[in-house]
Each structure stands twice: as C-alpha cells, then as structure tokens.
Symmetry: C2
Subunit: 419 residues, 2 copies
C-alpha cells in the first residue's frame, strides 16, 4: 500500500487529507501542533472576543472518521528526496507521495527592531499573548501617574492595511470603546489610540475601489487613525518610528504587513521566489520531484501573469487538487494542471460592517457582515466550536460584551513566557 505523507494541517493539508482518506492509501498526517487552527479568527481571540479553544480543532478528532489515516505530532526539519523520507525531530517517515503545506510565517522584511518588539498573529499562543499584553497595558495605565506614559500605554499601532490589519483595528477600537470604557472608569479610555499604518495609498488593496473607500471611511468613523502612504521603520518597547521620522509613543505594535514561506521551504534545496515561496509546476509538483506536491502559502504559481495570493481559499483548492492528482495517478489517469477559481474576498470592519467582493458583486455594511459571519462559521471546523463562536458573537452583539478579558499569563520585561 502506497504511503502519502502530508506536512502541515492547515487549510491546504486537511483538504488534501480529506480527499485522500479512505481511498486505500496509507495516509500519514504530520504537524507540530495536534490541532487545525482557524487563523482567520485569531484576531478575535486577541481582542477578547473568543476563547482560543474555540478556533482550534484536534487533528485526531478529524482523522477518526478517516480510516487508514494516521497522525503524528512532530516538527518537520527537512525532506530527504533521495531516500524519499520526511525528516522530523521525532524520527523519519518514508513516503511514496508527499504533500507539503507548512504555510507561512510573518515577514518583517529585515526590520530587526520591529521583529523584536512587534506582535503578530500566526499561532494560537500569539493571540493569547497579545490579548494578555493589551489588557495588561490598561492595568498598567491605571496606576501610571504620568499622563504621557499613560497615553502611550493606551496607544496601539497596527501595521498593514490588509484584511488582518483592518479586522484587528476594528475589533480593537470596539473592544476599547464599548467594553474597556466600562471596565476602567478611572481611565479616560477615549484617549486610547488605535493607529493603522499602511504603506500603500489605500486599504484592502485586493478589493474594488468602492469598498476600499467605504472601509477607510468606516474605520475613521469608528475612531481608528488611518495613516496611508506611511511605513514603520523602527520600533522600541515604548515607541514606533515612521519613515518620515515621526515617533508614536506606543507600548503595543502589531505587524500584519507581510508573510513569507515557512522556514521549511529554505531547507528543501530548491529555488525560492520572493517571500521564500517555492516555484511549482502547473500541477503543483516540485520541479524534478513529480511525487512531491507543494500547496498553500509555500507554493509560488503564476496565473494570468500574477502569482496566486497567500490566502486560505488558494490553499484549500490546492490541497484538494494535490489529493485528487495523487488519486488520479494511482488509477493511471493523467493529473491535470491546477487552476485557482477566485470566489472573491471579504473583510469585517466592525459591528454590522463588512465588505465583500464576490462573483462580480460588491457587498458592504450589514449584508456583507452577515455573509462574513455565516461563511466563517461554515469553514470553522467542529460543530461545538461553531456553537461556542456563535454564542460569543450573539453575546457581543446583544450586550456589547466580550467575556474573555483575562490576563492568563503575567508579563515581565522582555515579554518572555512568565508562567
């Protein structure tokens, strides 16, 4: 029985696994976490809106229904193409077919000081730590006598006007204005600042101009300071410096201005394109390695003259394609080239406010917001998770309340793990 090893249980990996399961193949799933993480909602965990557990789903819970599929908790350190085996921190795993979907990490573009002081949102722990940091900043502000320092503690700089930056900015300003004002009567919370810094001259670059304008207007109306054509070039624990030398006193810097292929990509000894991504053949296989597929953020494939974006829908379609190709080849059928079908994109801004561009339609406001909620509930894995998430959303909508205002980890200078 031929073995397929799938590296990474992200959007691409689990789709490939689901496609390959119960087809008479020996499927081995490998991830360094024992769960699939629904990254699109990490920002809601970071803004006290959701329990971290509600956006993660155990791989073994999925694999239960997939006979012939096994999971192994391990960190993949490389691939030995000659010996046809995956090398992990926990031994090697031979393969006949390999699907690599290790995803991406935050790209700080070499800005060392920023990387050192900024928060990002790629893993569950990032979201919990950011939430702890935000709430701790307010607790520190309460006992801070110096008004300037107090203001800096309540100033949050967000870099990157893509969906993550926009969604986080909106969720954060609402947390401050609706929830924390009630928690901190001793603070003039209205003095808190949420600054969104975008290097380009517009937000949500992938969206139609009409929706970009709506998003900008809406965010500013909510109280977010949006700086366009601006770049963060340096950072310290209590300040952020822009390209023009302007300094923003701020204790919190959130970076969502770019991602790059996971470090694993560099270990494969193949050519890497911008962002460390791996150029793949039209059928998603690695050049020179027809049995190795690369899917998701790690894969670089140009379509209609531009590389496919590093987003979940691309990863999902690639994962399914890789799975189907392997099944086809096992039946002696030819594997067709991959083609991405863009179903559109969407982003939520705040309560009853979102933008969506799909099938040539542009939605905004309440309708887009409902569409966003339903779509995310649909793609969220685990029925119970859906109920808990929906419960939290209803709660927030009705009571303007976010319950997960917990500092679960104490911070010490250096923001190391202080448990």
């Amino acid at each position: 029985m031929k073995r397929v090893v799938i590296i990474g249980m992200g959007f691409g990996g689990i789709r490939a696994a689901r496609t390959l399961a119960q087809k008479g193949l020996d499927v081995v799933l490998v991830d360094r976490n024992n769960y699939h993480l629904f990254q699109p909602l990490l920002y809601q965990v970071a803004t006290a809106g959701l329990e971290q557990e509600s956006i993660a789903y155990p791989v073994r819970a999925m694999a239960r229904g997939w006979t012939g599929t096994r999971f192994q908790l391990a960190e993949v350190t490389g691939v030995d193409f000659e010996a046809r085996q995956v090398v992990t921190d926990n031994g090697t795993i031979p393969y006949d077919y390999l699907v690599i979907g290790a995803g991406s990490v935050t790209n700080y573009f070499g800005l060392k000081s920023v990387e050192q002081h900024a928060f990002d949102l790629k893993e569950l722990v990032d979201a919990e730590r950011l939430r702890n940091h935000i709430l701790t900043a307010f607790e520190r502000a309460v006992v801070e006598p110096d008004p300037a320092k107090r203001r800096a503690l309540m100033t949050f700089v967000i870099v990157g006007g893509g969906p993550t930056g926009v969604e986080f900015a909106g969720a954060l300003i609402e947390l401050v204005r609706y929830v924390l004002t009630k928690d901190y009567p001793e603070l003039s919370v209205q003095a808190a600042r949420v600054v969104l810094v975008e290097a380009f001259d517009r937000l949500l670059a992938a969206m139609p101009a009409e929706l970009q304008g709506y998003t900008l207007e809406k965010l500013r109306g909510m109280g977010v300071e949006v700086l366009l054509n601006a770049r963060v070039v340096d950072a310290g624990p209590e300040r952020v410096t822009l390209h023009d030398g302007a300094v923003i006193p701020a204790h919190t810097l959130f970076w969502s201005a770019g991602v790059k292929a996971a470090p694993l990509a560099a270990t494969l000894g193949v050519e890497q394109n911008p962002g460390g991504r791996i150029a793949v053949e039209p059928d998603l296989t690695l050049p020179g390695h027809p049995d190795v597929y690369v899917v998701g953020d790690m894969a670089w494939l140009e379509q209609d003259g531009a590389p496919l974006p590093m987003v979940a829908p691309v990863a999902m379609q690639m994962g399914i394609h890789a799975g189907k190709s392997i099944l086809a080849r096992e039946q002696g059928a030819p594997a067709p080239p991959f083609r991405y079908h863009d179903k559109g994109s969407m982003a939520t801004i705040g309560r009853s406010a979102a933008v969506a561009s799909a099938f040539g339609m542009n939605l905004r406001g309440y309708a887009a917001w409902i569409a966003w909620l339903l779509l995310h509930l649909y793609y969220l894995i685990g029925f119970r998770n859906r109920i808990v998430v929906m419960l939290n959303w209803i709660w927030y909508y009705w009571f303007h309340e976010r319950q997960v205002r917990l500092i679960t980890e104490r911070e010490t200078p250096g923001n190391g793990c202080t448990r």
Copy 2:
C-alpha cells in the same frame, strides 16, 4: 471616606467585596490575576472537558456594578501594620480596614523530589499545563517502540483521596476510556493506568462511611487502581516511589494530598498554626489588629474542637462575615463572632455518579450527580460561562466527547514553558 482593602479575589474575597460594595466605603480589590477563578472545576480543564476561559471571570466585570469599588492588579508582598498600608509589587495601598483572603498553595510536606516532578491544580495555568502534559504523553506513546516505556507514558499517579483526587481520577479515566481510545487506535489505550494513592484507609475522609464505600467501589469499577494506606515518598520524571519501596513507572504525577496557607501568611509576622494558617479571633480579626480580617484557607479558627476545613464554603461565609462586621462597626454596632454553618459536602466521581452529604441526607449516584452539576453551575460566576460550561457537559453526556483535546504549549525536557 474610610477605605477597605481586600486582598485576594477568591471565594472569600469576592463575597466580602460584594457585601461591602455600594455602602459608602472606598473599597479597593487587589489580586495578582485580573479574574476570579472557580477552582472546583480546574480538574475538568485539566481533563480536556472545559475551556480554561469558562471557569474564570474578570474582576472588573463584577466591579462594574459595585460603585465606589476599584480593582488593582498587583502581587501583595506584605502588610505594614504600623503605617496601615498594603505593600505590593506595584506600590503601597493605605487602608482603614483590611480583609486578607490570599488563599492557599499546594503542600508537598517537604517532599522535594515530589514537588519538582508533580503537577497540582491551584491556578488556571496549572490546568492547561497538565492537560498539555497528559495529551503529549499519549502522542509520545504513539511513537514509543518500548512497551514498558509506552505503558509508563500512559500511567498517571494521583496522590490524595479527597474530593480533588477523586474527581480528577474519575474524569481522567473517563477521558482515557471514552475519548482517547477513539483518538489513538494505534495504542491499546485500555493499558493506560490511573492510580489513586491515599494515605488513609478510606477515600473522602469527610464523608459518611456509606458514601466512602460507594466512591471506592465506583472508582474501582471504572478502572481506577485505588491504593489505600499508601504514601508517595519519592518521585522522578518517569517513576513514583511508594512508602513500601514499590516503584510505579509513570510519567505523570498529580498531587492533591494537601494545601497550606499562601506565602503571604508568613510575611505578616504573626503566629502560624499547622499548614501555615493564621490563628484568628472568633470575629476573624488578626490578634492585636482589630481592623485586619483574615478569611478563607489562610484563617485558622477552631469550632466545636476542630479547625474549620480549607474549603470554599468556609471562605464564602467568612468573606460575608468580615464584610458585615466592618459595616456593623461603621454603624457603631458590635461585631458578632463567626460561626460556620456546614451545608454539607459533595464530590462527583464520573458520568451520572456523585456523592453528596447535606442536611443529614446522603445522596449518591444520579441524583447526587445532578445536584452537583446544578450547584456548580449556580456558584460559577458569569451567565455566559454557565452556558458554555453547560454546553460542554451536555456535549460530553450525549456524545462522550471532550473537545478541548489541544496541546496549546509544547513541552521540552524539564517541562518549562516552551512557548
């Protein structure tokens, strides 16, 4: 306006706060965590049954409704009785009245090796870390070729046959038998061992003999190995040694064999009784300090010839009493002595199985279990928390499923924080 400072937002502290709020006093709440933790359900977080967030409730969310009440996040390091101020890692806080309810910590009775290798359940992070450890042990067992080592990875030793030990043992064996068997088809999970070690000749010493017998019978029927008249004297990362020299190969040791007063008690410069507890006057005040009250686990008060137990009901009644005494004194009325009204005790063993002894009645089985569920939901703070917890319980009851099977923190040798 006179100021009351309350140290510790446990069962005693929040009851005192609730009693003193909105009575024209300046009430300052101090805790090193920004939430009240419902400790009785920590074991369900540790056994993947509940999200950690669902058993914690932000102090500021409570204090919102308590005008004149303020919260300060700080670690109390001592009390300056002469200057009448509380000393914290974050400055000092003057008081006119002081209520100390800093609770307790685990008591290892000087067993250094045990303290080094054992897990306990006092804080939220303890439960998450223990859950991560249990699930990681099974993941390691999957890739462990040596049968003996595999068995040790799946062996869990629990010390202490009190309510915590009994409830954790029952919840753990059910997690293994009902849930993990489905997650790990490659393991003979039935080989997993849950060993409950009790130094006394019976479980639940505070319960009537009839219920003790039922509990022992029930636990053994569920597959828990109960060792009575046995003591753990030494431990290593992969073994536990008993008083008679017997060695149990086990990767997980859970200690619930005793608690002692929080370290703060030792800094007060007053006489400490066994367990570091502070002997208080009949009105709960500190001898020689009529304006300082000590409530909960830290307080040592004998009633009917025996010291009051270190349990939540005592803490709650003491907290309310301290609050009422202060209010009475402010109105020039005399403060009556404290008297604990024992409403009984209960412990859950497993699905549809619990024991309860209250008002001279002995309940066991399904009825006691329902009573246990309702009582815990009632005392759990936060309506949304109650819904989430109930949802999880219903889920588990119907589907034999516990969703929070997440390893949120990777372990490295030494079990340090590896985030």
